[in-house]
């Protein structure tokens, strides 16, 4: 079985994000970039399936700038077999990413695509679902556990009310939630081996899909600062404030 794992280069989760002064976006200059943490979980899950003998090949793919090779090399060091970078310096929205991934799926014919449920930069939480729709494949999103057997995959999903398990026919799309696994660190010898694994660099033009943005960003601002709270003397005062000041009752 072949598994495709899309990974995204995002601002590191530790970085305190600053909005650019012209409100056109966030400042990425000299900021640490990393693999999207949910995608790390996706790579880890694929590697575990390979180690268990369920999968034979793992292909990592990223759509992003030249430097996204760093994240692909990390995926290779963690255990992916080869990688594809679709190079672009432009912003690509989830729909465009899904369309590009559909093309990659058609070329590579994986039986399973595992990807993060969302990227921590724009938190869209759309790519996996859109890709499933475009391919007409089954999808199991927010996976906290997967079990692959007999041509189907059982995905335990984290939903509002608790856990739900869906059984999907392959080929299928799985998006990962935080508790699916704890990703391994690459090792130094594997980092060196990753250098020698194949990494194809493609252009968006190679795929012939329309990636023009459908959204227009008007402005980007910091979230409003939280105001200091007030202490109330009694429950009656609290109810009064909720009714008359906050207007939530």
């Amino acid at each position: 079985m072949k598994i495709l794992v899309p990974v995204k280069r995002v601002i590191d989760y530790n970085v305190k994000v600053r909005v650019k002064s012209d409100q056109s976006g966030v400042d990425l200059a000299n900021v640490k970039m990393s693999m999207n943490p949910f995608d790390e979980i996706a790579v880890e899950e694929a590697v575990r399936l390979k180690e268990a003998g369920t999968a034979e090949e793992i292909v990592a793919v990223s759509i992003g700038p030249e430097k996204a090779q760093d994240q692909l090399r990390q995926a290779l060091a963690m255990g992916a077999d080869r990688a594809i970078l679709i190079k672009t310096e432009e912003t690509v929205e989830p729909l465009a990413v899904a369309k590009l991934l559909k093309k990659v799926v058609e070329e590579e014919s994986p039986e399973l695509v595992i990807l993060g449920k969302q990227a921590i930069d724009d938190d869209s939480n759309q790519t996996g679902q859109m890709l499933a729709a475009l391919l007409g494949w089954a999808q199991g999103t927010f996976a906290s556990k997967v079990n692959l057997a007999d041509g189907k995959i059982d995905v335990t999903r984290e939903i509002d009310g608790g856990l739900q398990t869906v059984s999907l026919k392959l080929p299928a799309i799985v998006t990962t939630d935080l508790r699916l696994n704890e990703p391994r660190y690459a090792s130094l010898p594997n980092i060196m081996k990753a250098k020698k694994k194949p990494l194809d660099v493609k252009e968006i033009g190679d795929y012939g899909v329309d990636v023009a943005p459908r959204l227009e960003t008007l402005k980007v601002t910091e979230p409003p600062k939280r105001e200091a709270g007030v202490k109330v003397e009694s429950v009656a005062e609290l109810v009064d404030k909720l009714k008359n000041e906050a207007g939530v009752l």
């Binding site: 970085v15 640490k32 760093d70 090399r73 990390q74 090792s187 130094l188 060196m192 250098k195």
Partner: protein, 599 residues
């Protein structure tokens, strides 16, 4: 921002100040390129931030305990070290032929630095193991290496260095631990050792102690000291861990800082035979140990710098966010408060830290690069020169950070004010962690004696001449760099005064008097060396400003400002010290023990 590393600074030191690109074009280093070095640093940073940093404060508050049978400590220590071992970091700096990764020394410096800054106590176990493995690799025979090295490089067995004894610290000639030959080829070790970091723990399957001891009938003093491998558990013929080797823990020392690394009083051969295996020739132990000691001393300087970096980064972040007061010129109490980083005196506190920390870091990377160039060089003369240069810089690289980066930690506490003095913030812990560095691996005073009594004189002053020539290269570059000409002149004057001080000292026939002020000399000599480093950094920053990216301009301007700071606030201090030392002042030498309190 990261609280354990400034990656931009590492890149600057690697590729703009230093020439790592050139180093990577040589010898076995050609396997690495910038991409793979970046990946190694990414891995180290991620692991240090995720597996080491989060419990540094908790480990300080919950130090290892000994119940009379076993040492226990927070499980996170073992988990972090297993992850470190699993990733191959123990073997990172060793040659590939023996199972290492062969990473350049300067890159190892950066990697180890991140772990040290994140959680010094945990990183301590790995540094000690690597140092012991280095010693074994350098001086052990084939059989010994086969038995111990692979396990140490995998991080399954840890190592220690056992030099000091309760009655013999700086004065190793007075050690009493004995090694008596047996008919079976091994030695029987008896005696006590003190201050043994990592001397006992339950994390690794075995502990390999590198022990200094005397063989009966050998020459007196340091000439009669031999080096032995003494494992905690004997090793079976198949390489597995066997029965106990009668190394017993008397107790743990309760330290001011660096608390997560056990520090032990050990007894050898108290309950039964303790086997030791002689390393190399008898009576050569101290020589072997001191070969490795240079590396250990650089590691101490690096540890000191990293503790200070931790304080610097934390206090910088705090100063940017903490709102307090207004500019002295602003008399309107209704005007909004400003972040304390806007206050000139807070900037001074931060600038002092920057100048100390980044100056020390530059020196450590410079020294590590000398190690790399020594490894790569095929020319005996060149290797000899590189070794001499490293010899004279080692006491400085050990002691200057231990003294002045501790000062930086003091300033970090000051930035946080009362909060900095509480255990709720990490800056006081960094200070306590750092305080050991002027004490272990040769005290500050010993380093002064080493520099003034030995290193500036060895081979008719050849090391000093080489260092002077290196500094003069930078002076020549600076004198033609716009804006740096004045600093070039200032450094030249300080260097000349340093030379004339050494000249005066060397003309004094009374050794006691000549060396009486060796420690102040060490500090001032260190300031000259760090001044030289800052000039190198500033020249590279000016190049960067001219040709670098727009986004890096603040970084470069900061370097130039820190260079200016060092030359205006720090380097002038040397003038007085050199004058004092050169005058052969005997105030301290002649004061009698009774005159301190009159009895």
């Amino acid at each position: 921002m990261s609280l354990i590393v400034n990656r931009r600074d590492i890149d600057f030191l690697f590729y703009e100040v230093g020439d790592l690109d050139e180093i990577l074009r040589n010898g076995s280093y050609t396997e690495f390129d910038r991409g793979s070095i970046d990946a190694v640093l990414d891995l180290a940073q991620n692991m240090a931030e995720r597996a080491f940093l989060p419990f540094a404060g908790a480990l300080d508050a919950n130090e290892p305990a000994f119940d009379g049978e076993k040492v226990s400590m927070m499980p996170q220590v073992g988990e972090a070290l297993y992850a470190f071992a699993e990733a191959g970091f123990f073997a990172a700096g060793f040659d590939q032929e023996i199972g290492g990764l062969g990473l350049p020394s300067v890159v190892c410096q950066a990697v180890q630095g991140m772990f040290a800054c994140a959680n010094l106590s945990v990183a301590g176990y790995s540094f000690l193991t690597v140092a012991a493995a280095n010693l074994l690799n350098e001086c052990g025979d084939a059989e010994q290496k086969a038995m111990f090295l692979p396990k140490m490089l995998e991080g399954k067995w840890f190592g220690t260095m056992c030099l000091s004894e309760p009655q013999a610290g700086s004065s190793l000639s007075d050690i009493k631990t004995m090694a008596t030959p047996t008919d079976d080829g091994h030695y029987r070790i008896t005696g006590s050792k003190m201050w043994i970091s990592g001397g006992e723990q339950e994390i690794s399957e075995n502990i390999v102690h590198m022990v200094l001891a005397k063989i009966p009938g050998g020459p007196p003093g340091v000439k009669g000291i031999s080096l032995f491998i003494v494992p905690k558990y004997r090793v079976n013929l198949d390489g597995s861990v066997g029965e106990k080797n009668n190394v017993s823990l008397i107790g743990l020392n309760h330290k001011m800082g660096y608390r997560g690394t056990t520090n032990c009083a050990l007894n050898f051969g108290e309950a039964g035979e303790c086997r030791g295996y002689l390393v190399g020739e008898p009576h050569q132990g101290l020589k072997y140990m001191f070969n490795m000691m240079n590396e250990a001393r650089l590691a101490v300087g690096a540890g000191a710098t990293m503790s200070a970096l931790g304080g610097y980064l934390y206090s910088l972040q705090y100063a940017r966010e903490r709102l307090q007061g207004r500019h002295p010129g602003d008399k309107d109490p209704a005007s909004p408060q400003i972040a304390i980083i806007e206050h000139a005196d807070v900037k001074r506190l931060l600038m002092t830290q920057k100048a100390y920390v980044e100056g020390a870091l530059a020196l450590l990377y410079y020294c590590a690069t000398l190690v790399d160039r020594q490894r790569l060089s095929t020319d005996d003369d060149e290797r000899w020169e590189l070794k001499l240069l490293l010899d004279i810089l080692t006491p400085v690289a050990k002691s200057w950070p231990s003294e002045f980066c501790l000062e930086a930690n003091k300033h970090a506490i000051q930035v946080l004010g009362g909060y900095g003095y509480t255990r709720d913030y990490p800056v006081e812990r960094h200070y306590r962690d750092n305080r050991i560095n002027a004490i272990h691996e040769g005290t500050h005073g010993i380093q002064g004696l080493d520099l003034l009594g030995r290193k500036v004189r060895i081979h008719d002053g050849a090391a000093l001449k080489l260092l002077t020539a290196e500094i003069e290269k930078t002076l020549a570059a600076a004198s033609t760099t716009v804006g740096r000409e004045g600093e070039a002149r200032t450094l030249k004057e300080a260097l000349d005064q340093c030379h004339s001080t050494i000249m005066r000292i060397s003309q004094c026939s009374d050794v006691n008097r000549a060396l009486a002020n060796a420690t102040p000399f060490l500090d001032a000599f260190g300031h000259v060396v760090i001044g030289w480093m800052w000039l190198r950094l500033a020249i590279a920053a000016i190049n960067g400003l001219e040709s670098g990216k727009e986004a890096d301009k603040d970084f470069y301007r900061g370097k130039i400002a820190a260079c200016r700071f060092f030359f205006n606030y720090e380097l002038p201090k040397t003038e007085h010290v050199f004058r004092l030392v050169g005058s052969l002042d005997d105030t301290c030498l002649t004061v009698t023990p009774e005159s301190f309190i009159g009895e």
